[in-house]
């Protein structure tokens, strides 16, 4: 007979962060051995532990959780801020640490005389940041290789994620201002949190223990 207990659906971001996060899930007893096999499957489940994992594009994790097909998910704070998702943010996993920053040409400065052109993958975060400073800006939304926008003179600054700063340096840029620090978060769908309250809270508590031990 199939177990009557409802499975917890977990959305993980494809890539390094997701694999690291899965490591924590495994450590606290939500393992799903088939996930380690190398194939192109995107859904894995382990009935014994009552979990089902999906690999999804990192920027889509919050969408799956908000719409309730995933009960919980692991997502970067950058994406949560950008999408302003209506979910519970339960835990700072302390991994995938980096910061959102304004960067520009080495030795340059902001020219307040004309509209500031900002190239970014995060238009909402950038707009919100400059709105607080009452600065007039023009957003140029790009999807990658943001660093070349100032070099080619298309933008004055970029707003992007900075991990070590190496990419910036190699492209003759430097961080000017920090906007917010970023790390991976455990999020939960609001309705799931009500109907699967005990299992989700248990998961959360165990994760918290592992994380505090590590830091």
């Amino acid at each position: 007979m199939k177990s009557l207990r409802k499975m917890i659906n977990i959305a993980l971001p494809k890539g390094r962060l997701g694999e690291k996060a899965y490591g924590v899930f495994e450590e606290i007893g939500y393992g799903c051995p088939s996930i380690r096999e190398t194939n192109r499957k995107l859904i894995f489940e382990n009935e014994e532990n009552g979990v089902r994992y999906f690999w999804v594009k990192p920027s889509d994790v919050a969408v799956y959780v908000e719409r309730g097909v995933a009960d919980v998910g692991v997502v970067g704070k950058d994406i949560l801020l950008e999408q302003a998702s209506d979910v519970y943010e339960l835990l700072d996993l302390g991994m995938g640490k980096c910061r959102m920053a304004v960067a520009g040409k080495k030795g340059g400065r902001i020219d307040t005389d004309c509209t500031l052109r900002v190239a970014t993958k995060f238009p909402n975060i950038a707009r919100e940041y400059y709105r607080k400073q009452s600065l007039e800006i023009e957003i140029i939304e790009l999807h990658g290789s943001i660093e070349i926008a100032p070099i080619l003179g298309m933008s004055d600054v970029i707003v992007d994620i900075v991990e070590t700063g190496t990419t910036l340096l190699e492209n003759d840029l430097e961080p000017w201002e920090d906007i917010v620090s970023i790390s991976a978060r455990l999020i939960a769908n609001k309705a799931s949190y009500k109907f699967l309250n005990a299992p989700i809270r248990q998961m959360c508590e165990k994760m918290n223990e592992v994380i505090t031990k590590k830091s």
Partner: protein, 375 residues
């Protein structure tokens, strides 16, 4: 003629049953016009859940708006006051932008408002009706209850600015304990107060247990009063058998402007966001110049569209084919005989393979004949 039940979609069935429920408790239907003057919404923007309003100009050049909200119009027109309470309900389309949709959407909303002196009975009547409304949708529901007086009572104790309060409130609504901690460190909040905020945000569970825990967080009269109100709600519902699906959750906050007292939210297992929300909104009533209290709630029926829905297996029970020389009178008679029998019938000259039928019949000179069956 009786309508087969399956013909009603879930949300249509719910509307009928909700209307019957509200009428039974003495609520009168309020029918509003499709639009209001835009100025009305612009002046009361802080009470609207979304910034977006669909506008157009009327014949005299005045800017009009398709209604994004019903409560505002009801309160504007109400004659309810402390002596004579008014009970109204509505079943209206509102025009809002649902997140991520990027365009306006027509959303069917059913709700009720009690405008007058909101005493213990009125509060309990509305909360009980909210529970019954959820029961109409499904037995597998949860209702979260909170009190703005309790939440704001604790936040105001910190003596922070308005925008700092907003930021903390946002953290509470996300149960985001690490963000609350980071914000508090920035704002130089005392350590024991941080602890209180964090436990308030993460509190969740049965009323009995949570009320005990909440009691330990009380710091002032405002919080004590709020908690007492919640205790009354719980004990009355307990006596009336509606308390086990009620949970205390202070993360149910809805901006600082709209709600003033008890607020609640309903969830149905299988629907990813809250389907019912409501509470006490005295601020709005006073702002519109009425001398009264008010409490009410709305049910968002558009969320039910996909709930329990199954794609129909067949377009029709019977596909009936006829020939050029078929007697029309006999054909019509045959069709009516079948439909009177409760079956759906589609009549065509040929089977063009686009209709999915349960049975294929044909009408020949010798009468009706089943040619093929699909189940």
């Amino acid at each position: 003629m009786t309508l087969p039940k399956m013909l009603l979609k879930k949300e249509e069935e719910v509307i009928f049953r909700l209307r019957a429920l509200f009428e039974q408790f003495g609520y009168k239907k309020f029918k509003m016009s499709k639009f209001e003057e835009y100025d009305f919404y612009a002046e009361n923007r802080s009470f609207l859940s979304s910034e977006n309003i669909l506008t157009f100009s009327g014949l005299d050049g005045k800017l009009l708006a398709l209604k994004p909200d019903v409560t505002l119009s009801i309160v504007k027109n109400t004659k309810g006051n402390y002596e004579n309470p008014e009970r109204v309900y509505y079943n209206e389309n509102v025009y809002r932008v649902r997140k991520g949709a990027g365009e306006f959407k027509e959303i069917m909303q059913v709700g009720l408002e009690y405008i007058g002196e909101v005493d213990r009975y009125a509060t309990l009547e509305v909360i009980r009706l909210a529970q019954k409304s959820l029961e109409i949708v499904s037995d597998d529901y949860i209702m979260d209850i909170s009190h703005m007086g309790f939440v704001m009572g604790l936040i105001e104790e910190l003596g922070l600015s308005n925008s700092q309060n907003e930021a903390l409130l946002k953290g509470i609504s996300e149960k985001n304990t690490h963000s609350i901690q980071t914000l508090c460190k920035q704002y130089d909040v005392k350590k024991e107060m941080i602890g209180a905020l964090v436990s308030m945000a993460s509190l969740y569970g049965s009323m009995e247990e949570s009320l005990q825990k909440a009691k330990l967080l009380c710091l002032n009269e405002k919080m004590e009063q709020a908690l007492e109100e919640l205790e009354v709600v719980f004990s009355v519902l307990k006596a009336n058998g509606g308390s086990e699906k009620l949970k205390l959750d202070f993360s149910v906050v809805n901006g600082m402007d709209y709600y003033t007292g008890i607020i609640f939210q309903g969830f149905i297992n299988g629907v990813p966001s809250s389907i019912l929300s409501g509470g006490r909104y005295d601020n709005l009533v006073r702002k519109l110049g009425k001398n009264s209290d008010a409490i009410g709630f709305a049910v968002y029926l558009d969320l039910l569209e996909r709930y329990e829905s199954q794609q129909k297996e067949y377009d029709t029970d019977i596909l009936l084919l006829y020939e050029e020389n078929t007697d029309t009178a006999a054909l019509l008679k045959a069709v009516e005989m079948l439909t009177d029998n409760g079956q759906s019938v589609m009549v065509q000259r040929q089977n063009n393979q686009t209709v999915k039928y349960r049975q294929l019949w044909s009408m020949k000179e010798r009468g009706l004949e089943i040619i093929a069956e699909n189940d």
